[in-house]
Structure formats: structure tokens, C-alpha cells
Symmetry: C2
């Protein structure tokens, strides 16, 4: 199995020994599982929350970056003399500036310079300016004269290996030998099948589009660098910045307590961190460098296009006999996991003895890919789940039944084929179908006029939703019974802080409004891996529970002494310690002298190891109904239901929020989103929110129903939770495509299902093509 490296590029390896004396699983909960608004909701909506882009420091300068406008070029000369003389300009740096002569690495093996003469995609950094205002900085950027040697380019991955294609790197456009996987014997499998189908699929490149652009503020205090960064993981940023600047980790402090969305694109440091640091050093002033919205479309990641050819064999009874997938993809101009995990669902979602996949990753002159909400999985689901739909139709069984037939209780693609701790996929399918009214809806007429109705469904699992060590957190219970949680993890907008406060509240009886959280600061908070991979809750919640239980134990011991009652007879009820036998034996936490004597009671919690020889994955099944206008090609999603097994539901409100957000993102992949690189110029033509279409409130159905299939996974970890954020977006686009097929009889194998594309396919169908 290929590791999902995008999550761990600079972070710690995801394993550590940790003590594991497990507490009892929660049976009844008072707080966990309920609907709770965010503990930082007021801060967020009032504007009081200071996001990195809000940071204002005395004397702060603003930076802007001159970026190469060509998809491939060589910088021959940079003339900064005019820019340097402009009023308010404090520093101009280029590759010739000693302080900016830094190594930059795009992967563990491929190094370039911070300002490299070789520009391999539109928007590579060429020079940068720090000035008194952003406007002055941009004026100065425009005043820099660069002489480029403009070179031929290739931006379409399908053309990258063609003879005569311009090479992105000296060694040609193949990133590595194709990645191959196989089990069983696919030839034998296809021979055993009653029906064999084969089809090609493609998903377009998507851009992350977080609300807050990428950027940072950098400040030096002597030998120490502080970076306020909009990030999903302060520690990976610390690590790459420290490595690049050859500084001790302790001297690089990264703070990212709030951040405005990332979706995988903010798991790592970026060149702008080093540019801001170099400018701050040169000017002895804090420097703010936030990218413009346009820049974020070009150079801070994307979900790369996937070209998939899938062949599948099935018996009459619905048993899958063989799956064969070839993938061609690109991470852009640098090694960035262009085909990473695209084949995972084909390998692992359904029981199938014979599977073969082959993935070819090529270079193109485009911005590097980054992890994007369930890397590879929605692409793979787009192929596999449309294929399952086609197979079901071919052998005449219900698509839900075909999937139920092939449910696996082991992870077939993992070494040793370990069993899943839990799998709720069967319940997701059956209960989801029931709640959606799937069988009734399938029978309803499609309509006669140009507006046709159809229903579709798809399923999925997510490879990385178990979470795991390392993580350390500290819970402090103050003498008045209020509490503070110190945690390294970022809350990337998913409500992590609220969930963790609920865990503290569950164990210690502290009301949420008396819990404060400090998080995501390498200087002051504990260690956590980046918030990505849907692993934040299953990683941090167990550590928080562990810490809270350690506080609880001390608290009960203190109370036992003061109440003169045996410790095992005591429990926390509300904000008091009470005897189970005699409710009159009771003392408020704020009245415990022993707590006051210590100042506070502190518990350090760690995330224990995952169970050995077991797989922990979340599962999902989704159902939707669409209306297609065959004249205009418009697709309207009428209703949507997502049934998720993500283990225990920690906060029903933020749980549903994740479902709604993930489905919305999947609708973007299905219907509207695509990066368009002009074939003539190699430049992106839709680098803004007008031309690049993310779904708006008008584009989503009035109801996106969330149906939790709650199977607390107590074997996986002591919170019972599995990941949620990514599984919810995996089958969405495929479900929509299947519904469009149901409505129209046209299978749209290439995303997005744009009106133009759909109208053309419908015309082809009418013409019998």
C-alpha cells in the first residue's frame, strides 16, 4: 500500500508507543453526542477571532511576490533597481539576495531554490517586495523587470508522455515507474464473470478555495522566528521552516489558533513562509504576506485530474470477480502525489478476489497538487461507483443490493487483510435507502417533458479515518471548577475545539462555557499531527479523554479525603463530587480545599495506539434525487441523504455540518468545478470565484439530510469516534452522476456534469452515438 504521504510530508510518522490502560467505553453520555453550538461561535461570527490574516503588529510591513507569468520559462535577468527606489519600499529580494538564497523542497527528494531560475509552472516565485502598504508592495512588484527565456510547455497530463512533449524536468515527464498493485488473478476473474464492463472516466482538477487565503505574518525576535500561519498543522510548518532556514525547531514558533479553511491545502509550509521570513529579517520588521485570491488558484495546490480506465467483472448473482484499473494523473510540475490513493476504493471497498491497478504519475507545467479532502478517493469513487451502477443495471439488480452483496468485513488491500474493528456499511446502505425512500423513488416515473427526474446512490470508505498517535494534551482544572485545555491541533473549521470541550465536560462536569482552549501553537501547546485525513477527532478526543480522566482521578481522590468516603464510591455530578450511595455526601468542585492547595489539577493525556492487526475505516452511503433539464443541460439536485458510519457521534450539530459541507463540496466536483488551463498559453483562465464555480447556497438542495449510523468503535480508541470530514465527500459526485443517468440514460463519465457537456451527450444519445 502506498502511504497517504500528502498528510505526512513534513510531520511526524503516525505511530508512537503510548500507555494504554483503557477506561471503560462510554455507555450513557450527558454531553457527548448532543447538539452543541461552537464554543468559539461568538468570536467567529463577531469578528473578534483573530485569524492569521487579521494579525496586525506594530511596524508591520506588507509583502507581495512577483510570479512568473509563463508555464515554463527560465529567468535570465531580474532588474529591481526601479522598485527598490520607490517610496515606502523597504526591501526587494530575488534569487541573488544572500538572505533569500534558500533551498526549497517540493518533496523529500526534489529540491529547488526559493527563487529558482527554472520556472516550471505559471506563478513560480521570482522576486518579492516588502513595503509600508500592500498597495505600495504591489506597485513595486510591477516595477520589477524580468527577462525570461520563454520555453515550450505541457499542461495536459494526457499529452505529457507523448513523443516530443516538452520536458518539465531534465529526466522527462515520468515522475517514477508506474505504481502497481495486484491480488489474485484478474484474467481468471474476468473469465469467471457473467458480465464484464469497461469504461473510461475522468475527473477535472479542482481548487481548494478556502475562505481565508494562504499566508502568514513573520516576525523575528533575535534568533527566534514567530510565524502566524493559516494552517492545518503548526508542527509541520515549524519543521519545514526550521529545516529550510537551518534553525533549531525550538526557535521557530508557529501560531495558528484560528484559520479559515484549508481542505488539505494547508498541511504544509509554503515558499511564502520563507519569503516573509527573509523580508522580515532584512527589514527588522514584522512582515505580512497573504496571497491574493488569484494566487491561491495557481500555486497552493489542487485536487489533480484523474484519468481512469476501469474494467469490472460480475457474476449473475452480483458477486464481483475482478476489477482492473489504470490511472494516469499528475501532481503538476513537482512530485506531489498526482495519482495518490485514486485506486484505493477499487482495491478495498468491495469484496473482490482479483484486483489489479496501475497508476502513472507524470509531470506537467502546472501548480503542484496537494492533499484535497479525501485525496484520490472521490476520483476513484467517480469511476468505481458509476461502474457499480452500470453493473447493477447490466445484471438487473438494484444498485443497493449489488453493494450489499459485496460488503467486506476485512480490509483486503492492507497487509494481512486485517478485519475492520467495525463496519456500518451494510446499515448505511439499508437504513440510508429506507430513510431516503430509495426503492419507492426508483419506481417513480422519470417524467415525459424536457425536465426529467432520477435517483442515484453511491458508497465509499476512507483509508485514513482512524487517527492515531502521537498526540499529547493537557487539561487544567482551576480551583473554581473551570477548565483549560491545551492542545496542539488546529480547528480547521470543523468544530474540533467544541468536540474536545464536550469530552472534558463529559468527564469533569464542567459546563462548556467554563472551558477555554488554547491550541495550535508550537511555542505553548502540546504536540499534535496536522488536522487532516479526518483524523483530528479520533486522534485528539481519546487524548483529551485520557487527560480529563487523569484530572478526574485526582479530583475524586481529593474529594474522598475531604468527604471521608471511599474513592470508588464517588462520581462527578454537575459541578460537584457526589457519593453514589448517599447523595448528601457531596462537595462542589470549587469548594475542594485540595484543589485550591494545588492551584489547579492537571492531567496530561496521550493518544494510545490503534489496535493491532485491525483496520479502522469510516464508511458512507449516499442517495440523491436530481432534476435534469434536457434542453439546457442544467442539473438540479433536489434532495440528498448521507448515511455515515463514523463511529460515535461526538457533537450532532458539527457532525451534520461536516455532512452538509462535504456533500456540497462533492456537488462542486460533480457539477461545476474545474480548473481550466488554456492549451495555447498554458495559463489558468478561471482564477477567480466568478469563473471558477464553487457551489453557492443557490446550488445546493434545500435539505442535505444527515443520517448517522452510530456504531461506537470502542476497539479503535477510547472515544469510539472515527473520521467524518472526508468520507462524506467521497461518493457524492458519483451518486449525482448515477442519478443523472437514471434521469436521462446518459452516463457522464467526465466531470463536471456541466450543461454544455450534458447537452452534447444528450444530443449524441439522440443521434444514436
Amino acid at each position: 500500500m502506498r502511504p497517504p504521504e500528502l498528510y505526512f510530508i513534513d510531520g511526524a510518522l503516525p505511530e508512537t508507543p503510548a500507555p494504554d490502560d483503557r477506561p471503560e467505553p462510554w455507555t450513557e453520555t450527558r454531553v457527548v453526542g448532543s447538539r452543541r453550538t461552537r464554543i468559539d461561535g461568538f468570536d467567529r461570527v463577531s469578528g473578534a477571532a483573530v485569524y492569521p490574516s487579521d494579525v496586525l503588529l506594530p511596524g508591520m510591513l506588507y509583502a507581495a511576490v512577483l510570479r512568473c507569468p509563463h508555464p515554463q520559462a527560465r529567468v535570465k535577468k531580474v532588474d529591481t533597481s526601479a522598485a527598490a527606489k520607490m517610496p515606502g519600499v523597504r526591501a526587494v529580494i530575488t534569487g541573488a539576495t544572500p538572505a533569500a538564497d534558500l533551498r526549497w523542497y517540493y518533496s523529500r527528494t526534489v529540491f529547488t531554490k526559493l527563487f529558482d531560475p527554472a520556472c516550471r509552472f505559471e506563478s513560480e516565485a521570482v522576486a518579492a517586495v516588502a513595503a509600508d502598504t500592500p498597495q505600495l508592495a504591489w506597485d513595486a512588484v510591477r516595477a520589477i523587470n524580468v527577462e525570461y527565456e520563454v520555453l515550450p510547455f505541457v499542461v495536459d497530463e494526457r499529452a505529457a508522455l507523448a513523443a516530443g512533449a516538452p520536458p518539465v524536468h531534465d529526466g522527462g515527464n515520468r515522475v517514477a515507474e508506474p505504481e502497481k498493485y495486484s491480488r489474485g488473478d484478474v484474467a481468471k476473474g474476468f473469465a469467471e464473470a457473467n458480465t464484464v464492463l469497461e469504461a473510461s472516466y475522468r475527473t477535472a482538477t479542482e481548487i481548494h478555495c478556502p475562505t481565508e487565503p494562504h499566508g502568514c505574518v513573520a516576525r523575528w525576535d533575535g534568533p527566534r522566528l514567530t510565524i502566524w500561519e493559516s494552517t492545518q498543522g503548526v508542527y509541520p510548518v515549524q519543521q519545514r521552516v526550521a529545516t529550510s532556514l537551518e534553525m533549531p525547531l525550538a526557535n521557530v514558533r508557529v501560531i495558528g489558533s484560528y484559520m479559515g479553511g484549508g481542505f488539505g491545502s494547508k498541511l504544509q509550509a509554503d515558499k511564502y513562509n520563507l519569503i516573509a521570513a527573509a523580508l522580515a529579517k532584512l527589514t527588522a520588521r514584522p512582515v505580512k504576506l497573504f496571497l491574493t485570491r488569484e494566487e491561491t488558484f495557481l500555486c497552493v495546490g489542487n485536487r489533480p485530474a484523474a484519468n481512469m480506465k476501469l474494467k469490472a467483472g460480475v457474476r449473475k448473482d452480483g458477486t464481483l470477480t475482478a476489477l482492473e484499473l489504470t490511472v494516469l494523473g499528475t501532481g503538476g510540475a513537482y512530485p506531489a502525489g498526482g495519482t495518490s490513493l485514486v485506486d484505493w476504493l477499487v482495491r478495498d471497498l468491495y469484496t473482490c478476489p482479483n484486483v489489479r491497478t496501475e497508476s502513472t504519475d507524470v509531470y506537467t507545467n502546472a501548480g503542484p497538487a496537494r492533499a484535497f479532502r479525501a485525496p484520490g478517493h472521490p476520483q476513484g469513487a467517480w469511476a468505481l461507483e458509476q461502474m457499480m451502477d452500470a453493473l447493477a443495471e447490466a445484471i438487473g439488480i438494484d444498485p443497493v443490493d449489488l453493494r450489499l452483496k459485496n460488503i467486506s468485513t476485512v480490509s483486503q488491500a492492507r497487509e494481512g487483510q486485517p478485519p475492520y474493528t467495525t463496519t456500518g456499511l451494510e446499515r448505511c446502505l439499508t437504513e440510508g435507502a429506507k430513510a431516503f425512500g430509495w426503492h419507492e423513488a426508483r419506481k417513480r416515473p422519470k417524467g415525459n417533458g424536457p425536465v426529467r427526474r432520477g435517483v442515484g446512490m453511491a458508497a465509499g470508505l476512507w483509508i485514513a479515518g482512524s487517527g492515531g498517535p502521537p498526540s499529547t494534551v493537557v487539561v487544567k482544572l482551576f480551583a473554581d471548577g473551570s477548565a483549560n485545555l491545551n492542545m496542539g491541533a488546529s480547528d480547521i473549521g470543523t468544530g474540533t475545539k467544541t468536540v474536545m470541550a464536550m469530552v472534558v465536560s463529559e468527564e469533569l462536569g464542567v459546563p462548556l462555557e467554563k472551558i477555554q482552549i488554547e491550541n495550535a501553537d508550537t511555542g505553548t501547546t502540546q504536540y499534535a499531527t496536522a488536522s487532516g485525513g479526518s483524523k483530528t477527532v479520533p486522534t485528539e478526543a481519546p487524548a483529551v479523554r485520557d487527560a480529563a480522566l487523569k484530572v478526574k482521578r485526582q479530583l475524586l481522590e481529593i474529594a474522598a479525603e475531604e468527604l471521608k468516603a471511599p474513592v470508588n464510591e464517588l462520581q462527578i455530578d454537575g459541578e460537584a463530587v457526589v457519593s453514589r450511595r448517599d447523595p448528601k455526601v457531596r462537595k462542589k468542585i470549587s469548594e475542594l480545599d485540595g484543589v485550591r492547595r494545588r492551584g489547579l489539577v492537571l492531567g496530561v493525556g496521550t493518544r494510545g495506539p490503534n489496535p493491532e492487526k485491525k483496520a479502522v475505516d469510516p464508511f458512507v452511503a449516499q442517495f440523491c434525487e436530481v432534476e435534469v433539464n434536457e434542453r439546457t443541460g442544467e442539473v438540479k439536485v433536489l434532495r440528498f441523504l448521507s448515511a455515515n458510519d463514523s463511529g460515535r457521534v461526538m457533537n450532532r450539530l458539527t457532525y451534520d455540518g461536516q455532512v452538509i459541507g462535504g456533500v456540497t463540496m462533492g456537488l462542486g466536483l460533480a457539477l461545476t468545478e474545474q480548473r481550466v488551463l488554456d492549451r495555447q498559453t498554458g495559463k489558468m483562465v478561471n482564477r477567480n470565484w466568478h469563473d471558477y464555480k464553487v457551489p453557492t447556497a443557490m446550488d445546493v438542495p434545500p435539505e442535505i439530510a444527515s443520517l448517522p449510523i452510530e456504531v461506537p468503535d470502542n476497539e479503535a480508541n477510547i472515544s469510539g469516534a472515527k473520521g467524518l470530514g472526508e468520507p462524506v465527500t467521497i461518493p457524492t459526485a458519483a451518486a449525482v452522476a448515477n442519478a443523472v443517468y437514471d434521469a436521462t440514460g446518459v452516463r457522464v463519465t467526465e466531470s463536471p456534469i456541466s450543461p454544455m457537456r450534458l447537452v452534447a451527450l444528450l444530443a449524441g444519445k439522440r443521434a444514436g452515438r
Copy 2:
């Protein structure tokens, strides 16, 4: 024994159970004990360090306080209408403003209002303003019209109990019944003496005069209040603010990573915290409220004047037989420990079977006292150590020998008379005398002209220098071998951070430049009591060592596995783990995979308990030589030597810095410092650094020699250190007075030894008075 309550007014009680599996004491050290410049030296001298008074927040307003100009008055009417209309004025608050209608407590029992109509000393708060600039705020303060009922007052504590003295509070001017202590039978003791002397002494009121004035910035984020405070203890400030505002402790975050001196005056919250918080709440803007230098002279504390009458009996051989002390003092207008600890040295410094003390604390119309570098002790030493000098002369033995004769190995005044873990007083006296050349200097002629020379000495101990629990710290060792220390304690300018970094470096081999410290933030750092009482090093260093050892243990275990060597054979050498048996078996910490896998290695350390039934005190003996111009009354201190037993020397450089600073402060008490309250108006007449004379570089001898008497106190705690900051200032003034006596034959019993006072005494002596 009266607890030194000034240190613990709002803080935690100084005891907690804590695990205590003691490591071996340090025998040889590589880092600890050496001379190291401050790890934050660059930040401090470059101006990069952000002190609370440097904090600038976007949208921040500036506040100023209208203060009562009368020593006693009643506010009848406050008219803010003109002020409220002034441009740039954002809020004006008085006692009538609901948001400012808050309770304030000066002690655990005495409550007033934040803006109380009863003004009991010059500068009580009457109203406050927040405006766009400090200038506008002050303009608005001047535009507020207050109608006062001006009342009679008493500012001299010696007049407070006189018949007809104006009462400060309704119940009269006695704070409480006199505090009494006695052991043995003083009448019997005096009867057994060969010589009995009796004298009256007085020390003037001193002002703390830290470089950074008192103040804060307050900001609300929804229900949470953040205060940047120039403080010695973030937790006591948090506690009082939360209590006053009836908020959960967790919702009040106090940050004070840097602070510009306190000397005891910044151990607690002040009214200005609540004023800033109220103004910030009303304006929904951050508010900065720093006192002017003039205000700091009036309302944020002082070392109160002590009036002492001491009677002492001694046998011919130098054995003390009885000591009797009465003290009259004042904490000002509120209960503030006016006579606290003044009698401690009389009770405890020298072996004496018969001791009686009685302390009377009265109210006066003056600003409340606060803890001031060794509360009570320098006052008590002024009396006791001049008396010892007089006794030695009376019975014809050397003052050093008289003290050596009466050294105690037990703390006589503590319950059960526990033995000291260690006492280096004998060595301080003998080695100090030798290093100073005491005996030679005593024999030198005093001079014939108007300029006379003399030498004097004095000794002391400090009651609170043991430190103690609770304290928790966290040490994080990053994967590259650099480290971070998270600690609640403030570095009040003494070099605490550097000492703690040295402890980490000692155990983990990390060079100081790779250690970063986060401290003094109730939101992000661990629990510590306030930095006061000379207890910061003996409290925190053991906790830091404990944390570092916990990291070390894990590190050696990780290395043992990777080096395939038994763990007990391994040690840390430089930045590597090395086998004691075979130096080739070696791995750099930054190359240990196990550390990388965990992200970092974390150790949580706590301060273990102090030894039971033992006393832990630091000791000191000081020697000086002065030159007195009998014509002008000028006293010039020519040289000074301080011999200190403060246990292990942690950092020789900051150790000497403490000695120099403490002696300098003692010279101020001896020679120049006194608050002058005008008898006619009750107002302070020298409220600035021109008229209130703190010693400058021109007023101290060219050399203040530091002679550490290093007796590592391994029984006291696992660092072996005892307190230093306060003992060094305790005997200083008395030593100078004794030297002046040696030079002139005049005993100046009232501080300061100002030229005017000395000239008058010399004239009296010449006149045979």
C-alpha cells in the same frame, strides 16, 4: 508564626502533595553554576521584548484615572458631562456606571467599591476615561468635576492612635489587636544578662520604583477577558480579577511573559485591572491603562515605616539572654500587613531562649503597603543588627564574634523548633570577614580631618527562601534536539528563564541557544505561584529538573533500543546519547528515530514537597566600608561585600546581579529613600525620581563584591538552591549604619542617613547631647 501573607494574598496555598522519587543530587555540573548571559538578553536590550507596556493592539484605546487629591474625603457628586462630550473620548465611568459598580477587596475581609465614595488616601480612584490617545484621556479626566467633602486625616502612624485622631475607618485606627509572640521569660533573661541595652529605631517608608510602571492592557473576546499585565504572578491576578468580575477562572487569561520589575509591588491585581476591563467592555475595544510614574508613588504599594523599640540582654561572654521588641507600623488606609514580619529576625536569627515581641498595626490615610523585597526583614535588621553592634561594643568583643557566638542550627520561632537543613551563616561570617579584610579594616585609623572612615557589618536570614509546591512545568524535546520549556512563573528581571534553561541544558545536553521558554500566561503555561519571596528558583528549578529527567529517561530508553545497549549504561554527552562503556556506541539525539516518531518527547515536572520538620532558610552576612564627611553629612560607601548562603549557585552571573541589585536597594534604604507625606496637606511631596532618591550608578561603590558560600541544600529540594533576591538586601542598611557609627561615633537609628539628619546628630554629639 504569622504567615507572610503579602505573598499569598490571592495565590494558592503553598503546599500540595506531589510525587517525590528523588534523583541523585548533582555532584559535578557542566552548565549549572557557570556564568551565563541571559537567554533573552538580546530581546531585552534590543527592545524586541514586548513588555505589557509595549503591547499595541489594533483599535486600542488609552485610559486614565481621576484620583482623589485629598488624603481623606467623601465623593458627593461627579459630573462627567463635559468629559463625555470631548472628541476622542469613548467612555467615562464612575461609581454610578453599572459596568463599574464592582466590589474591590483590599484584604480577605475588607471590601470597598471600585469607585468608592469614601476616599481614604490620596489617589483613590474616583472616575476613569477611555479615549483614542493618552493625551485625550488625560484632558477628559481634567474635565470631570468632582464635589468632595474634604475630611480630616492622619498620615503619621505615630499619631494614629492619639486621642482625637481622625478615624480612617469607622471602627477607629487599630487594624486588629496587637500581634504578640513570646518564648521563654524575658524578665528572667534580662535578669541573667550582664549588659542590657534598649533603643528606638525607625525606618522610613520606601517606594518600590520598578522601571516599568504598573498597568495592563485588557481585551474582551466575547465572554473571555485577556489581560496583558506587568506582574510577578499571572495566577494571583487571574484569581482576583475573576473573583471580582464573578467570572470562571478559565475565562480570564493573564499574560505577563515580560515585566519590568516589581520588588513585591506586582504580586496582585489592582483596581486598574478592573477599570481597564470595564472600559474595554463598554467600548468593545482593547484598553491600555498604565499608571504614570507619579501615580505609582501613591497607590501601588510601599515598604511601610516601622517604629521599633528593642531591648536586649547579653552575658559577658556574648551569650544573648533576652530580646524584647515592640513595633508600631501601618499598612496605610487598608489592612496590608503594616507590621508584617518586622519582628522575624528578632525571633529567629540568633539563639536566644527568651524573646517577646508585640506589633501594633494602625490605619493611616496613606496608600496601602505591599510586599517589598523581604517584607519586614530590613526594618527588623535595622534595629537588631544595630543593637548587636552596640552590644558587641558594650561587652568589648568583635561584632562578627558576637554573632558567631549566637548562631542557631534550629529555627527557634517555628513550631517545634525544627533544625535547618543547612546553615552557612557561620561561613558567611568568617569567610566574609576574611575576604573583606574585616579585622585589618577595623584596626585602621578613622582619620583626623572632617572625612572619617569606618567599617560595619550585619547579618540576616530570610523566612521564605525555601520555595515549595505547587508548581508544574512541561519540557518538550523536539526531534532535532532543541527544547521548549513551558512554565507559569514570571521572570521578574532576576534571570529565572536563564537559570531554568541551564537546568534543562544540564540534564539534556541541549545548548542554551536551542532552548525556548514560554512563561507566565494563565492560558497557555502551567501553574506556578507568584515570583516573590525569593522562592522562584528553589520552587521552579526542582520542577524543571524533574521534567527534564522525565524527558531524559524516555530519551535513554529510546536510545537503548536503537543502540541495542542497556539503558543504565547510557548517558547524555553533548547533544548525543553515549554508552559509558564504549564511546563508539553513540547516537545524536536529532538522529533518534523514536523521538521523530513521537513528534517530540515530553516531560511534566512538579515541585516535590519540602522536607518535613525541617526549616529551609538562606543566610547572609555583609561588610562595608564608608567615608563620612562630617561637615556635609555625606556618606560615601567605599566598598561592600555580601557573603550569601543561598544553597547551590545556579548561574554565577545572575547570582552576582541579584547581590548587586539587593545591596543597591539596601543602600537606598540606608541613605536616601523616604516617602515624605506633608503633615499640613497629607499629600506626598516627593512623588517623582527627582525628589524621591533611588540610588543611581553614582551612589554605589565601584565594587559590590559577591561571595557565594555555596552549600548545596540537597535535602531542601532537588536543585539544591535556596532563595537569594531578598536575603541580600536584608542587612545592608544596618551594615551601613554600623559603619557610619564606626566612622563617627554617631548611631543613626532613623533612616535614611541623610546629610541633614547626620549633620544634626553630629552637631548634637559635639554639643554633648
